[in-house]
Amino acid sequence: MKLDLANPAWRQTLPPARTVAADAPVAACAFSRDGATAAFALGDGSVRSIPADIAVSAPAPNPPVHGGAVLALVGDPAGDGFISGGDDGRLLRLGADGAATELVNQKGKWVEHLAAHRTGAIAAAIGKNAFVIKDGEVREFGPHQSTVADLDFSKDGSRIACAHYGGVTVWSIGQVTLPPRRFAWRGSHVALRWSTDGKFIATGTQENDIHVWRMAQATDMRMQGYPAKVKSLSWTADARFLYTSAQPVFTAWPFSGKGPEGKPPLQFGEEGAGLLAVVAAHPAAEFVAGGYDSGELQLGDIKTRRSVVLRMADGSAITCLAWSPDGYKLAVGNEGGALLVVDLKR
């Protein structure tokens, strides 16, 4: 994929985008596996789907599928619909036709975080447990020391890592039950991403730090100095960099070679309004999208160390970003209920 950010067009006009106004905050967004649809998890219990092709007009709002707010959403790795989790304790499979099938119902708990793996497996953080749905079977892992604050699959999809108070627990989700592996670090871990090469697990902590464990040696490192909690982490497709939120510019820790110890992170691009709230590395190329707590949206290129503004600040924090599978479209949602699909093909 080619996106030439040096092209003056980026600075002259904003890229074409479709904006739909919803009447509720957006908690999460995702593209379907076939890339045809972008969907947004809304605070009114509905999942709003919009055609990825911005020339096609958006259909009417979908009726609510969850009792309260939809808190989490991923593309269905086993179909062309979506998987949603809500504060009604339900985990739903939403078909491409919008039909909802209940996968898990844990009344009284919240389904706050989801992960999907291309093998078709889905993982959901519900209370102190992680639920894994694979080949039509639901399995439960836990309980952990506290509520599971985030989770992610390993590269091959054979394990899941759960963040919680006191560290990270890694479970093997194959048919053979193996004891969990624990990676301890004091304090509360609030965000987690497993590196795209499987070698590292990174977490953001309650104390505004980042913690990273090297899986092979079980050694760990800590990066400090953030002014706020790092709640968004994103590894580049080649696992050479880890992008982090909570900075005014794109911030990438280098993980190639000897790793980031003793090195400053790479920081580049235009200083945005406020702090980055969400970062999303491009699925294939060297680009990164960043949404600020001011509503500003930027696209960065680590190769040229440049960034361009895709959307101006409007005071409503960006809450989610998702790249389409082909890497040419970006779905964006904010606290104010704006749903965007940006088309980056120039």
Binding site: A27, G43, L71, W110, E112, G127, S146, G187, Q206, S316
Partner: protein, 321 residues
């Protein structure tokens, strides 16, 4: 969608004191307001409200070298989650378990930036069982600490005790916490205005705190007990000395000092200096200006365990000009 900070009222009290009755009373009253209710998993009775969240009280130590710095991790998560809903509410009510230490709940609102941005702690309301309170003090530290942290105390079930017994309980409560507003109640019946929208943690409203209990803390008999000590002074306070003293004091003794509040006349400053703290955490600001005719005096109060009143008094007096 920028919105005003949602007020949070914390309801605490020993098992069976009447917290849940109070909670249901707040919710059933025709006030036209909408509340989100966060209850503990072991709630005693059913709660009648659309938006009830079951919390498992997850007390987390902050990994920042401050040992008494504990927060309620579940509250941070739940408040963040509630803000993702379309329906907005006028307030959040947090009911703690009967054996909960109110410290971590209060500290959550001082520590977490996002919680601070979205909500404000309005007041800690403690329901006390008039019949069983003195006995509960023997069972452990919880009943005492819940009173120590309170901004508002409901001395409940007064119909179950004699006038004599009631006086004994009230005296005991006052020896622990003389600055909370106390309401005698039966079946948790109280005007909602007495417990909601109190702004007890609002520095602008600290000036309202009543100094009529000053100079109480001189008994050395039961230092391990929770009590309050308060001082006043007519001479102006040296800001540098005060900051140094207070900083060192909270650093060293913050675990034992549950709450502290003060209004100070700083040497040369035209406005009042107000502060308040929960354990080691402190907020301070400049308050209203002194009037020409007004006598400039300073007041401060500590509530905690193992407080050495004389030592604290000397420390404070050393800060005076």
């Amino acid at each position: 969608m920028a919105q005003a900070q949602v007020p949070v009222t914390v309801l605490t009290g020993y098992l069976g004191a009447g917290k849940t009755t109070l909670l249901n009373r707040i919710l059933s009253e025709q006030h036209g307001k909408k509340y989100a209710v966060i209850v503990n998993e072991f709630g005693e009775l059913g709660i009648d409200n659309d938006l009830v969240v079951n919390a498992d009280e997850e007390v987390f130590e902050m990994n920042n070298g401050c040992i008494c710095c504990t927060v309620r991790g579940d509250l941070i998560r739940i408040i963040e989650g509630l803000m993702k809903r379309k329906d907005r509410f006028d307030g959040i009510l947090v009911e703690t378990t009967g054996l909960a230490d109110p410290g971590p709940v209060a500290q959550t609102f001082f520590t977490d930036d996002e919680v601070k941005a979205r909500t404000r702690l309005d007041a800690i309301v403690t329901v006390v069982d008039a019949k069983h309170f003195l006995g509960q003090l023997e069972q452990g530290d919880e009943a005492e600490e819940q009173v120590a942290f309170a901004d508002v105390i409901l001395l409940n079930k007064t119909d179950l005790v004699s006038a004599d017994e009631l006086k004994k309980v009230e005296d005991k409560i006052r020896s622990i916490n003389p600055f909370a507003r106390l309401h005698r109640t039966q079946k948790s019946q109280v005007e909602l205005g007495a417990i909601l929208d109190k702004g007890a943690f609002d520095l602008k409203r600290i000036l309202e705190f009543e100094p009529d209990f000053l100079e109480h803390g001189h008994d050395h008999d039961h230092e391990e007990e929770v009590k309050s000590v308060a001082f006043s002074a007519d001479r102006p306070v040296d800001p540098d000395k005060f900051q140094k003293w207070m900083g060192a004091l909270l650093q060293l003794r913050g675990g034992d000092i549950f709450r502290s509040k003060g209004v100070l006349a700083i040497d040369g400053a035209p406005r009042r200096y107000v502060y308040q703290g929960v354990h080691m955490m402190m907020d301070s600001d400049w308050g209203s200006p002194w009037k020409e005719s007004e006598k400039r005096s300073s007041k401060l109060v500590f509530i905690g365990r193992n407080l050495d009143g004389d030592n604290l008094k000397r420390g404070f007096e050393d800060c005076l000009k």
